[in-house]
Assembly symmetry: C2
């Protein structure tokens, strides 16, 4: 496979956007990425989205967006891997360009979630779990994560307040990201007093949904003659059982382990060389499990990275530097592309107050289901 | 890109299957394809499906199926291009294998449609059209096709009965396909007397929905040492506007033209060398338009291939040799894979009474929306 570079990024502010439809936010992100790349069109569009069929009564979404973005006659397809759809969309685009089939491609993530009543959104989100054997039993997505978090606290002896640094860091970083959903600093006290949702997960453990779209423009690296290039140095997707109850160890994200190991191998690096890590902090517990599975901490010790300040932009393993799912927001199928856009921003040095000093190598990890599909990408700045 | 071969096929009978869930029919087709290929697993699973989120309240479908098929730790993703999802799934699998990223892959098409009330299914099918500018106006999918058919009859002076041979041929061929939804011969009189649905489309112009799953197993051709190989000689996807009203000429399937031309070029053949053509006869009018766009007939003349008997298994351009969408059935996201499975059966010489004599080169064309996304594959038997 030939090397592929990211030459354009675009994103919309994540919010309750009642003024624009799903096609409009998608087109907005695409046009920004085209402009950033200095291109008029692309040969392919790969759309990551999970719920447009249910929440917008719109399937054939990639076609709708292709058409309304004015991208004539190109190849276009929608990719669904639940909350991992965004990362999976880049991976599909990457294979199309790396294989030589296409000379350029856009990877888009988009989700429009706030036009519906919250109970409809909760039901739609639950479609990422096993309809017959999890959802039928009354489990929602937050319920599943609450079970995992409770078990983690029991196994390793941590208390709920120990998770606070993950939420506090995300909120602090989002203050400097104009595209973030939440601009509101929080304290340890706020975290501890926050409303309980599904014990032990409270409101500040959980990421907010939102409407958003983000896009990446990729081309074969060999076609570029710039001094500085952002290369996709590693890309891997791995799967675990869909239902959490089928796992021998529900506290180990084996798909995160396998996809990160494969991505490290491709990029020729290890966890120690990752300057910035945009992980999938849908809930604070998921940050902890991701850090452990990707080799940044031992089993039961991921939480220490928060307590010790290692996760801050100036720390050893900076995470959620633009706010993460927790504060930038989690427009499900779009999230994976937001993460990648943010890693590109870090590698370009565009992050101002939350810039990781001299960031050269960044990783983004996108999770579908409660750890079922995990896509990891490593980006490298060359030059 | 390296050459890729199809070494395994599997399919389930298309029917109102109230005894099996979507995961069960999917697993059935996968296990048949694995057995046919003589393999225990594959490195990737690419699932074509349109409506599981709406009709089964199940997203993350590729994960569910991967898990329940016992395919551990593999890459897995769902592809949605509406009714063109099946063809698009093979194309994604092809790029993954051709690029060198994977050494083997399964392309699966699956749809479970009959557990719901027909009005729910009609609404779900309409999500393939433009929700804001077509469906809001009251258009269903059959309504859209009726407008196109009426315009065709007006422009070129054909009458409704002239479309009969397409339905009659499909039903006659399905008599010999044990996996077909309908086993019922029909006559010209049946066709003319059939119940009107959306003028001028009557019941026998339209394909039945159903529950079904079909699978293909692909590997790099270089790894095979068999005397006979089925190669994917051409693969192309093209798009048109999503809304029919945005097209300058709604009677010309420009995406069919462009994707077939590209596939012909890759395969080094022209329409005259295609021995069998599994086209997307969701409605009789679509057969006619596909034949014209792919170069088998001039504008307004596609209908003559039916009237002259050219479309029969013994004719010049055999189509729907296993029953087509019309009589084999149209489980939407699965259809594109059924078409490809049937072309493989023809190239292997397994089609008995509807075998096309000495079939070496076959084409399958899968349409998403009313001509919006069109995926064309050309398969060649070598040896």
């Amino acid at each position: 496979m030939r090397e592929v570079a990211i030459i354009g990024i675009g994103q919309t502010k994540i919010e309750e956007n009642w003024n624009q439809s799903i096609r409009e936010i998608a087109v907005d992100a695409i046009h920004k990425a085209l402009k950033d790349a200095g291109r008029a069109s692309a040969e392919g569009l790969f759309v990551g989205n999970m719920m447009s069929g249910i929440l917008d009564m719109q399937n054939n979404l990639s076609m709708l967006i292709t058409d309304h973005a004015g991208l004539k006659n190109i190849e276009s397809v929608k990719i669904d891997a639940a909350c991992g759809s965004g990362g999976a969309a880049l991976r599909s685009a990457l294979m199309a360009v790396a294989s030589g089939e296409l000379q350029s491609a856009l990877a888009l993530g988009v989700e429009k979630m706030t036009d519906r009543h919250p109970h409809e959104v909760t039901a739609a989100l639950a479609t990422a779990a096993d309809a017959d054997f999890e959802v039928e039993m009354g489990l929602t997505f937050i319920g599943l994560n609450a079970l995992i978090m409770r078990r983690y606290m029991y196994e390793f002896g941590w208390k709920h307040a120990d998770f606070a640094p993950f939420a506090i860091n995300a909120h602090a970083n989002a203050m400097h990201n104009p595209y973030a959903r939440l601009h509101q600093r929080i304290s340890t006290e706020d975290f501890e007093k926050s409303a309980m949702i599904a014990t032990p997960i409270n409101l500040l453990d959980a990421s907010p949904i939102g409407d958003g779209a983000a896009a990446l423009y990729i081309v074969p690296a060999e076609t570029l003659h710039d001094n500085t290039r952002i290369l996709i140095a590693g890309s891997a997707s791995a799967t675990d059982t869909l239902a959490t109850h089928d796992r021998t160890d529900p506290l180990f994200l084996s798909a995160a382990y396998r996809s990160s190991q494969e991505a490290y191998k491709q990029a020729g690096v290890g966890p120690g060389e990752i300057d910035v890590f945009e992980l999938h902090d849908a809930f604070t517990i998921m940050s902890v499990l991701s850090l452990e599975a990707c080799g940044f901490a031992g089993r039961g010790q991921g939480i220490c990275l928060g307590l010790d300040g290692d996760i801050l932009p100036t720390g050893r393993v900076p995470i959620t530097t633009r706010g993460g799912l927790k504060a930038r927001g989690h427009p499900v199928g779009a999230t994976g592309v937001y993460q990648l856009v943010e890693v590109v921003q870090q590698l370009r040095g565009e992050c101002g107050d939350t810039q990781v000093p001299d960031a050269h190598i960044g990783m983004a990890q996108n999770i579908g289901g409660s750890g079922a599909t995990i896509v990891t990408h490593i980006l490298k700045r060359e030059g």
